[in-house]
Structure formats: structure tokens, C-alpha cells
């Protein structure tokens, strides 16, 4: 006999419906899954057999064929366990005809444990959102209840296979198979555990991060070990504007696909990702034979912090260029092409030289100029071009470290950032464009050179060797500084300040 269960899977960050057709025919006992299943889907056979038996049903010793349709699209994920198990129960007539009829109103997702209980599976949120128009009630594991809540689709959350079949048979009521998610109040308003006021000294770096937050610019911090690079980066999310509903949903989708959602974690804070420098380029950007989002997508609408920037493999750094430019990662494989959003702010940190002491007034650097050059040249020009702000961090003096008065708090800085973002929103007419991502046309329109700028830029080019290419970036950053000061026009003062954030543009040779 034949049975069809509706389920779903993901492609990129979008979900789509899949029907799991199960046919049971007499013949040699086999159990085959067709329809481009991935390794994890093929393994579901074993879980299904055990779960069906351990739930008190018989596993039919017959020729079982499972087809996941549309058959030409690759299927991945463990959510097919439950629909396959239900299909087998229906096709072997262990469910009543009424229950089988009722099953048609459900979209079934869930991984099965061997004892028949349901386990969390990945990608529930995007599937629920995409399949909302089917008008079906979703069956999801209780651990995925948050995603059901967020999707605002009707759903039930049985704990076990048996509970679900009992419900289908009418033995259990709707309420009995539904747990509801109550957002814990205190967690929503939980204050950030870190604050900018804890960072002593480093006024220039703090200012640079404020500008970065206000204009969506990428930052590179170059400093001696122990000068607070990581400390500053970790506090960067605390001065970013809060997430909008839409942004939060997008992030939750990505985390859902990666099965990284905690039990009760709604994204009210922007994500902060700090992968280790040994990361492979696929882990960073996403991919794999069945593409998965990488760290850049997990940092979507948040911060990607790359500590020891120069130690990352060359290929890993180069793949960052596309998402930094477009805010999107497109992964093309022979079988399929998927896109993941990756609109993040890059905060990178590196030592000034391999030994880490270059520019330290107390400890001499033991590197040769050649080694220093080689170290710096690991960051390629095209990548540096995408980083608007670079700051040198110097050791904090004891007086600063021990100072009783604390610096500005994150809340104070955030207030200015929010005002600057608001100005940008009004200017660009949307909240996605920031000064860092404005187009050339917008640059021409909104970033007019002030009077007297010629002299400054000429001096900067002559003295520092600034290239004409960096001029656009200087203007964009100057625009953000003007926004922070609530000015309509960029002034020469703003341009001069930006020069401080371009130390790597300086030529390293004696001027003549």
C-alpha cells in the first residue's frame, strides 16, 4: 500500500515542501530511500526501524521504498525520520484510515531517537516560513518550539512517535501534544555582561569603533599583545543598534539551519562570531558538498571578529572579499548553487610584527624589516581596500589602567551611534544602506569635499603617500564622522581625523 506524508527541507536559507512517499509491497525485505538523499537521510533508515519497533509497532518485513519528491533536489537533514516512520505505519495499515486521512493536514518534521522520542532538527524555521501558505499544521519536535513560535504558523509538539500516532487516532487532544514557549522576561532585558567603560585608555581605538558602529565600516586593529584588541572587539556589539524584527528573523533562520539555536534564545543581541585562525575557507564562507552557511553568515547583521588576522590562511582571507563587498555569499557546486546572506561588520586584529613588539617602547622588536613586511603583506591590498578604519593600539599605562574614573559606557556611545544611523536611514531611505555600503552615485551626492580640502588631501598624498584609490573610503568615513556630529556637510576637520585611521596607506620610505 502507498502512503504520502508532507515534510520539508532547505535550500540555501529558504525551505520548501517535500513529500515523502512510502510504498510497501510484497517481496524480498528491503528498505530503500530514493530521491537524492544525503548521508544523514540514508542513515535515517536505521533510526526509523528502531523507533518504530520501540514505539510498540511492527516493522513490516516487506519491500519498502521511500521516495522523497521532488526527486531531483538533494535532501539533507534529519527531519525526514518522523515523516518516513509515519509513512511506514500508514502504508502498513497500522494507523486507522481516519488517522491516515488526518495526517494529510500536517507538515511533519522531526528526528527520531531509537526509543521513538523526537529530537531537535535543523532548519525548522525556514521550512515553516516557506510552507506557511500550504495551510498545514506543523508537527515539530518540542525542542524546536521557539522556531514554531517565531514562524507564527500553527504547530504541535509531540514528545514521541507514539504520542503523535495517539493524537492522530484522536486519543489525545490538541493541548496534550502542544507545549507553548514563554519567553523568559528577564532574559529579554538581560543587561550585556560586558561594557565599553571597562576598557581603560585606548581613546583612539574606542573612537574608531564608534565610527565603525555608526557607519557600518570594517575595522582593523593593529596592536601589541595585551593592549585590549579582543576586549574592545567583544564590546563592539554593545554599541551597535538593536536588531529589527526582520533582521532577527533572518539571523534565527540561519542559526536554525545550522542547528545552533539554543532552547530559548531569541536574537535580541547581534551575533558575535570569533572563529579560530586555523579555520578552513569552507568553514569561514560556507559550502561543503551539501552547502551549509559558514561563519560569515552566522555573523550576519552582527560582528565577525578575526583575531590574529595575519595568521589566517591566505585562501580563507581572500574568500572574505566577496561577502565584504556584496553582503552575500554565493556557493556554486556542480549540483547546485545556493546563496547565504552575509552582511556583517568585520573587526580584525593583528600584531604589528611576528614577534609582536614592533613599536613597543619597552621591549625591542627582534624581527627584520623583511619579516615585518612579509607579515603585513599577508593581508592583500584588495582585502585592505574593504577595511575603512585601521588603528594602532599602544600599551596602556599603569595610571590609565588604575584610573578610578571609568570611560563612557556602551549606552552613551550607542546613543550617538543610533542618532548617526538615523541620519543615514533618512538620507538613504532604507535601513540597510550605511555609509560604508553607499554606492558611487550616493557618494557623489552626499559626500561633497569641503572648502580647503584640496590642500589637506594634497598634503596627505605627498606626505603620507595616500593613493587616489583610498580617497573614496576617506570620504565615506568622513561622512560617518559628520553624521556622528550631526553635521550636514563634511568639514576639513573630519577629513583630517580620517587620516588617523589610514596608517597602512603610509609609504614606508623616507620622503624626498
Amino acid at each position: 500500500m502507498l502512503a504520502t506524508t508532507c515534510t520539508g527541507t532547505i535550500k540555501g536559507i529558504e525551505g520548501f515542501a517535500v513529500s515523502a512517499e512510502v510504498d510497501i509491497a510484497p517481496g524480498m525485505p528491503t528498505f530503500a530511500v530514493v530521491g537524492l538523499p544525503d548521508a544523514e537521510v540514508r542513515e535515517s533508515k536505521e533510526r526509523v526501524i528502531a523507533a518504530v519497533r520501540n514505539s510498540g509497532f511492527d516493522f513490516p518485513v516487506k519491500r519498502i521504498t521511500v521516495n522523497l519528491s521532488p526527486a531531483q533536489v538533494r535532501k539533507s537533514g534529519t527531519q525526514f525520520d518522523l515523516p518516513i516512520a509515519l509513512g511506514i505505519l500508514a502504508a502498513s495499515e497500522q494507523l486507522s484510515p481516519a488517522a491516515i486521512e488526518r495526517l494529510k493536514d500536517f507538515l511533519v518534521l522531526g528526528e527520531l531517537a531509537l526509543d521513538g522520542s523526537l529530537r531537535q532538527c535543523a532548519g525548522v524555521l525556514p521550512i515553516l516560513i516557506s510552507c506557511k501558505n500550504l495551510g498545514k499544521t506543523a508537527v515539530i519536535p518540542p525542542q524546536n518550539v521557539l522556531e514554531g513560535q517565531v514562524s507564527s504558523a500553527p504547530f504541535i509538539t509531540p514528545h514521541t512517535l507514539r504520542e503523535l500516532t495517539d493524537f492522530l487516532e484522536g486519543k489525545l487532544s490538541n493541548e496534550q501534544v502542544q507545549i507553548s514557549y514563554l519567553p523568559q522576561e528577564e532574559e529579554e532585558i538581560a543587561p550585556a555582561t560586558v561594557d565599553f567603560s571597562e576598557v581603560k585608555g585606548q581613546a583612539l581605538a574606542k573612537r574608531a569603533l564608534e565610527i565603525a558602529a555608526a557607519g557600518g565600516h570594517n575595522v582593523l586593529m593593529i596592536g601589541l599583545p595585551g593592549t585590549g584588541k579582543s576586549m574592545l572587539a567583544k564590546r563592539f556589539t554593545t554599541i551597535l543598534p538593536p536588531l529589527t524584527q526582520e533582521e532577527s528573523l533572518e539571523i534565527t533562520k540561519i542559526y536554525s539551519i545550522c542547528n545552533l539555536l539554543g532552547k530559548s534564545k531569541l536574537f535580541s543581541q547581534r551575533p558575535f562570531r570569533d572563529p579560530h585562525h586555523t579555520i578552513s575557507d569552507v568553514a569561514l564562507i560556507g559550502g561543503g558538498s551539501t552547502p551549509k552557511p559558514g561563519e560569515v553568515s552566522l555573523a550576519h547583521h552582527g560582528v565577525l571578529f578575526l583575531d590574529e588576522f595575519a595568521e589566517f590562511s591566505r585562501s580563507a582571507l581572500e574568500v572574505l572579499r566577496e561577502p565584504l563587498e556584496n553582503g552575500i555569499v554565493t556557493i556554486s557546486r556542480a549540483k547546485e548553487t545556493v546563496s547565504y546572506p552575509a552582511r556583517f561588520t568585520l573587526v580584525a586584529a593583528m600584531n604589528p610584527c611576528p614577534c609582536g613588539n614592533l613599536g613597543n617602547p619597552l621591549k625591542p622588536c627582534t624581527c627584520t624589516p623583511m619579516q615585518v613586511n612579509r607579515y603585513k603583506s599577508r593581508i592583500s591590498g584588495p582585502l585592505l581596500d574593504r577595511i575603512d578604519l585601521t588603528v594602532n593600539l599602544n600599551p596602556v599605562k599603569y595610571e590609565d589602567w588604575n584610573k578610578a574614573s571609568e570611560g563612557e559606557t556602551s549606552a552613551q556611545i550607542r546613543e550617538r551611534v543610533l542618532a548617526a544611523r538615523e541620519r543615514q536611514r533618512k538620507r538613504f531611505g532604507n535601513s540597510l544602506t550605511t555609509n560604508a555600503t553607499m554606492t558611487n552615485r550616493e557618494l557623489k551626492e552626499f559626500c561633497k569635499l569641503p572648502d580647503g580640502a584640496d590642500a589637506i588631501l594634497e598634503a596627505a598624498m605627498r606626505k603620507f603617500g595616500l593613493s587616489a584609490r583610498s580617497l573614496d573610503k576617506i570620504l565615506k568615513t568622513a561622512r560617518t564622522i559628520a553624521d556622528l556630529e550631526n553635521k550636514d556637510q563634511i568639514t576639513t576637520q573630519h577629513l583630517i581625523e580620517v587620516m588617523q585611521y589610514r596608517p597602512l596607506d603610509r609609504k614606508g620610505v623616507a620622503d624626498f
Binding site: 585606548q202 583612539l204 598634503a459 588617523q500
Partner: protein
């Protein structure tokens, strides 16, 4: 060019010159033994080894290296970029270098070498220059150039570049003895500087075959040419074990005066000069200290004002500054300070401090390196 030397002999010298694993004076001796360079190249390895009393392997290597060079091509390529190849018999070959024991048997020259009547001062130092070294090198080289002295250095990073750049700024000639073949610039960022040296009547000199890439052993070797061309030699900064000290040692062996710029005793870059001073080298505290060592016969035409040990102190740069800028200069003092420190010292925010530092840097009072500001003028 000396017409008594045939073109074939020149070519043979150019070929022999490419054997860098031999000291130049050994090559000169070989030429004496065989009468001419041409004659050497006609020998096979066995006779060469026997006659010259060298090992067979060395003789074979020498011949292999020499025959690996196409002298016609060397000559044409050098002429094409406006250079010349001189042998010791040519009158263009610098007399001071000819007098040196290890004079190269062929010298590649781009630009114009200073005449024998020109006072030449060698300035050498570390590639890892400190702000102090930068200030001193620039000031001394500038004043030497103004007084009419030609500064000789090695076009390396750090002190060398600072010295050449100072002369070029004043459009005065300077000589760079490089550790690569001519036609190639190392370090690459000094390409523009090399061009500027040539444009201002200076010269670029090398004993290495055309376009030869840099190699670690080239640099100590070329130092003897710097020492030979100069009198005296000034060591600005350098570690105790450094190329600058090799030059100083070679200069002493040639009977040249070695002068050293004293520096802080805890700065590794001043370790070299300080140890030279301990061993009796002349102390440089002003340009006049250097000019005192210029041979009498070369002093004609030098600006006498620079010989005064009590030069009138130039107007303090601070006087041209605004009150706020002067505060910044005071905060910088003789240290290396970050923007944060300046901002705190003058009680200003980041934007104001950035503005002041920018103005001062553009005016040339401050230099910035790795985010640290230091004085760039005395």
C-alpha cells in the same frame, strides 16, 4: 676610457668579475700572473689551478662562472640604461677605490661619480632605524650636502635611505653603492629614490653583474666600496653585530677615520656606535665634527660656515607654532607617543588631537611610525 685596454680584455675582466666567491685582490693577482684576463679565460681548469696555485674545484668554478657571463650583453644592457662599466685602468675609475686593496676589477656605474677633488663622507647604519636615528641621519646628511660634501651610502632601508633622501631633497649629488647588480633595485620601495639620486647628479655604483638579484653576502662585500670611496665614515646607528660595523672595520683597515654618533646606552641600535666610541672612534655631535676629518686638500670649496663648532642655533621651530601646537610638541618631547597620550597630555578629544598631529606632521615637525609620533627635527 683607457684606449690601451682592448675591448676583448675589458670583456674578459667583466667575465672574471662575475666570480664573486673570490676576493677582488685575488683576481687582480691572477691577472698579474697570467698577464691579462683574456689569457686566464683561455686556460683550462687544470693549468689555471696549477699556475695560480689554487684548487682544481675553485679554478673550474671560476671558469664556469666567467664563461656563464655574456660580456657583450652586459656591456650593451648597461649602456642602454645609460651606465658604463669601468676597469681599474680607466681614468673614470675612482682613484680612491683603485688605491684600496680589494678594488673590484670591473665597476658598473650609473650617473656621474664625484671627482677626485670632491670630499666624500660615508654614512652607514641600521635598516631598523629609530626616530632618533632618522632625525640625526637626516640632519647630518642635509648639512653635509649643503656644505658641499657628497654623501656615500648603500641605498638600503633605514639610515641609508634617510641619508640619500636628505641629499635628494636639497638636489645635491649623492652616491649609492648597491648590493644588487645595476638595473635592479633593492629594496623595491627605493626605486623612486634611486631615480631621484640619478636625476640630481648622483651616482649608483655596483661591482655585481647587471641585474644580479640581492643576496645576503653581497651586502657586507659592497661595504668595502663605501669605505674606500669615503673619508671619513660615519656610523649613525647599528647593532653591535651589523653591516654598519663591518663597514667601520673595513674603513679602519683601509686607514680611514671612523666616526660614530653616540646614542642612548639602552638602545640596541646605538650599541654599535657606542662601542666604536669606546674603542676610540671620533664622536659626532654636529656636522662640524665630521668636516674636521675631511682631508685638507679636499676642503677647498666647502662652505666654511659648517666648520664652525658654535653654529648659531637656528630659530626654534616651536616659535612658528600656535600655542596649542607648541603644547603638543612639549607633550611629545623626545619620546615616542601615541595619539592617546597626546590627547591626554593636552586635554583634548581624539578629533582635536588628530587635527593638531596632522598639521605638525605635514609641517614636518613630527614623524609617525606604527601609530607613534616622534620629533623629526632638532
Amino acid at each position: 676610457m683607457n684606449p690601451s685596454i682592448s675591448q676583448q680584455e675589458r670583456f674578459a675582466r667583466i667575465q672574471l668579475n662575475a666570480f664573486l666567491y673570490f676576493r677582488a685582490d685575488w683576481l687582480t693577482q691572477l691577472i698579474e700572473i697570467f698577464g691579462s684576463a683574456e689569457n686566464i679565460l683561455r686556460q683550462n681548469a687544470e693549468t689555471l689551478a696549477k699556475e695560480a696555485n689554487i684548487s682544481f674545484t675553485t679554478a673550474a668554478n671560476l671558469l664556469k662562472e666567467a664563461h656563464g657571463i655574456n660580456p657583450q650583453e652586459e656591456w650593451e644592457k648597461t649602456e642602454k640604461i645609460g651606465g658604463h662599466i669601468f676597469v681599474q685602468e680607466d681614468e673614470e675609475y675612482p682613484q680612491s677605490l683603485r688605491n684600496c686593496k680589494e678594488a673590484p676589477i670591473a665597476l658598473y656605474v650609473l650617473g656621474k661619480l664625484p671627482s677626485e677633488q670632491t670630499a666624500c663622507v660615508g654614512m652607514v647604519g641600521t635598516r631598523k632605524i629609530t626616530p632618533y636615528g632618522r632625525r640625526v641621519a637626516a640632519k647630518l646628511a642635509e648639512e653635509l650636502a649643503q656644505s658641499g660634501v657628497t654623501v656615500i651610502s648603500g641605498l638600503a632601508r633605514g639610515v641609508d635611505s634617510e641619508c640619500h633622501a636628505a641629499c635628494v631633497r636639497l638636489k645635491k649629488p649623492t652616491v649609492a653603492v648597491i648590493g644588487t647588480g645595476i638595473g635592479r633595485c633593492y629594496p623595491p620601495e627605493n626605486h623612486a629614490l634611486e631615480k631621484a639620486i640619478l636625476a640630481n647628479g648622483g651616482a649608483v655604483v655596483s661591482e655585481l653583474p647587471f641585474n644580479r638579484p640581492p643576496n645576503a653576502f653581497h651586502f657586507p662585500r659592497r661595504n668595502r666600496i663605501i669605505a674606500a670611496l669615503s673619508q671619513p665614515v660615519v656610523v649613525v646607528e647599528g647593532e653591535v653585530k651589523s653591516g654598519a660595523l663591518i663597514t667601520a672595520k673595513l674603513a679602519l683597515e683601509m686607514g680611514k677615520d671612523v666616526l660614530a654618533v653616540p646614542g642612548p646606552i639602552d638602545s640596541p641600535q646605538s650599541g654599535g656606535p657606542n662601542s666604536l666610541i669606546r674603542q676610540g672612534a671620533g664622536v659626532v655631535t654636529s656636522t662640524a665634527d665630521i668636516l674636521d676629518y675631511i682631508p685638507q686638500q679636499l676642503r677647498f670649496g666647502l662652505d666654511p660656515r659648517f666648520f664652525e663648532h658654535t653654529q648659531e642655533i637656528p630659530a626654534k621651530p616651536e616659535e612658528q607654532l600656535s600655542a596649542r601646537e607648541a603644547e603638543v610638541m612639549k607633550a611629545v618631547a623626545d619620546r615616542q607617543v601615541s595619539l592617546d597620550q597626546v590627547a591626554e597630555a593636552i586635554k583634548a578629544g581624539v578629533p582635536e588631537a588628530a587635527q593638531l598631529l596632522f598639521e605638525l606632521e605635514v609641517k614636518g615637525f613630527l614623524a609617525c611610525e606604527n601609530g607613534l609620533y616622534s620629533k623629526s627635527k632638532f
